[in-house]
Amino acid sequence: MGEAVRVDHISYVYPDGTVGLKEAALTIQEGEFLAFIGQNGSGKTTLSKNISGLLKPTTGDVWVFGRNTREAPMSELATLVGYIFQNPDHQLFNQTVYDEIAYGPRNLKLPEEEVEERVTEAMRIVGLDESYREEHPFFLSKGLRQRVAIASILAMRPKVIIVDEPTTGQDFKQSIDIMDFLTMLNREHGHTIIIITHDMPIVAKYAERTVAMADGRILLDGPTREVFAQAEALAQANIKPPQITRLAQRLGDLGIPPNVLSIEEMADLIESALKGRE
């Protein structure tokens, strides 16, 4: 597995003068599952859009599979990095589910046969029944529209998939379904996954690596367990670790480490602490 993304000390200034990113640097290996966390305005979306090539850095360079995002054409970048918007309605605009998913591959000037093959595959992976092919996306439920949005990105077969707020507005079970699906893409199909999220329990459960941002800078970058253990740095960025981690961080004097990520783990620690005393 090689290097997928290299963000080489980039800054980004929006046309109105707002500084979105300051000296951001990170490298992502193929097959990683990351979360970008931070308050609104912290730079996580700006960083993601620079990685996908939707924005070009003001200074510094972004390399995606060895291609500089300033130089590679969008049609090529779209096959390397796909960006799934938070609100599926921001990216759906075709009259049928089929045309929506076929839009990207058709833009790549692929023969219609291969377009058909990719649409069928994408629909199968996201679990959209064939019977939806001729439906108008607008009349589907939000959950199904989200699947159409994901399928339309998958049909481009991008190696890196960035998902903006995958669980916002979803309930507990829907969130688990979406995240299990992204995990499947990561493990079975080898996609590198980046989620942008405020949902800390989801980060704890699914992301192997977490990048915490504040004021346009990368504040912390490491294994999720280590990032959540940095209670003070996170507090500065107004990020609250999951409730179970916060509980662990109050129990240091009892030998509970500050980096607990799951309920199961916490129960194990309490159980073994008890046994140790017997």
Partner: protein, 286 residues
């Protein structure tokens, strides 16, 4: 006990064109001054139930209704939405969807002016609502669309509070907000609970924040209400909630897991503070 301010009896509702009942015969009683948390998975009927409390269902939606809903003495089928709105204020998930005015001040006083209240009373109510929602004076001239998400939702709540309704229904007031905005709105709910003796009904997924505030929790699941109880009782059966697609806060699930392992046999904690005491109690044993 006094007559409940809200009585839902055998309510069934089906939107025109839909095959199944969205609400399948639910009963619910809410008393004056109660703070009620409504939880449950999406598409289970929570919003329909909320809209039946201010009469939008059945008055503004085509559909079929059975049973009855009586709110502050009004049968919602016999009174208009405007009449019911005198008693019930409603806050939507998306604050922008309810803004009508060019400035925060106009937004907060809009409905009061429409009612023709005297200027003094309008002013007094406006300041009271702004104070309760923690909106500073220098925001009055700002256009609502320039505010952050949390500020917008606080303005939306202030404009409802200014009407001093006996009942306020909030439909997922934090679902569209970032964590700072969510915290701001939860703080407003906490202030409302502390200082405003209204009946507050909140649909909310953030159980960690609602559990310590609520007097009563209501579970809505697939068009039914399988459980109504005070939070301490409501959250005792963690497995029951998980089976109904509700994920209780981490510390409650932890207590449940410790019970399963035979390490604990007390009640589930409502807060991190309580969980800390429980763990200290377990590990403090010799």
């Amino acid at each position: 006990m006094a007559e409940p301010i809200i009585r839902v009896e055998g309510l069934k509702w089906k939107y025109e064109g839909s095959r199944d009942w969205v609400l399948k015969g639910v009963d619910l009683e809410i008393h004056q001054g109660e703070f009620v948390g409504i939880v449950g998975p999406n598409d289970s009927g929570k919003t329909t139930l909320a809209m039946s409390l201010n009469g939008l269902v059945p008055n503004n939606y085509p559909g079929v209704m059975e049973g009855r809903v009586v709110v502050d003495g009004m049968d919602t089928r016999e009174h208009s939405v405007a009449e019911i709105a005198e008693s019930v204020g409603f806050v939507f998930p998306d604050p922008e969807s309810q803004f009508l005015s060019m400035t925060v001040e106009e937004e907060v006083v809009f409905a009061l002016e429409n009612r023709g209240l005297p200027r003094e009373e309008i002013e007094e109510r406006m300041w009271w609502a702004l104070e309760l929602t923690n909106i500073p004076e220098d925001y009055l001239e700002k256009p609502p669309y320039e505010l952050s998400g949390g500020e917008k939702q606080r303005v939306a709540i202030a404009s409802v509070l200014a009407m001093r309704p006996k009942i306020i229904v909030l439909d997922e007031p934090t679902s569209m907000l970032d964590p700072i905005g969510k915290t701001e709105v939860i703080e407003v709910l906490t202030e409302m609970k502390r200082r405003y003796n209204a009946t507050v009904i909140v649909i909310e997924h953030r159980l960690e924040d609602i559990a310590p505030l609520a007097d009563k929790m209501v579970l809505v699941y697939r068009g039914t209400i399988p459980k109504v109880a005070p939070p301490r009782e409501f959250f005792q059966d963690v497995d029951f909630l998980l089976e109904h697609d509700v994920f209780p806060p981490d510390v409650m699930v932890l207590a449940n897991e410790l019970r399963r392992r035979g390490l604990y046999d007390g009640p589930v904690p409502m807060t991190v503070d309580e969980a800390e005491s429980i763990v200290r109690g377990i590990l403090g044993r010799r």
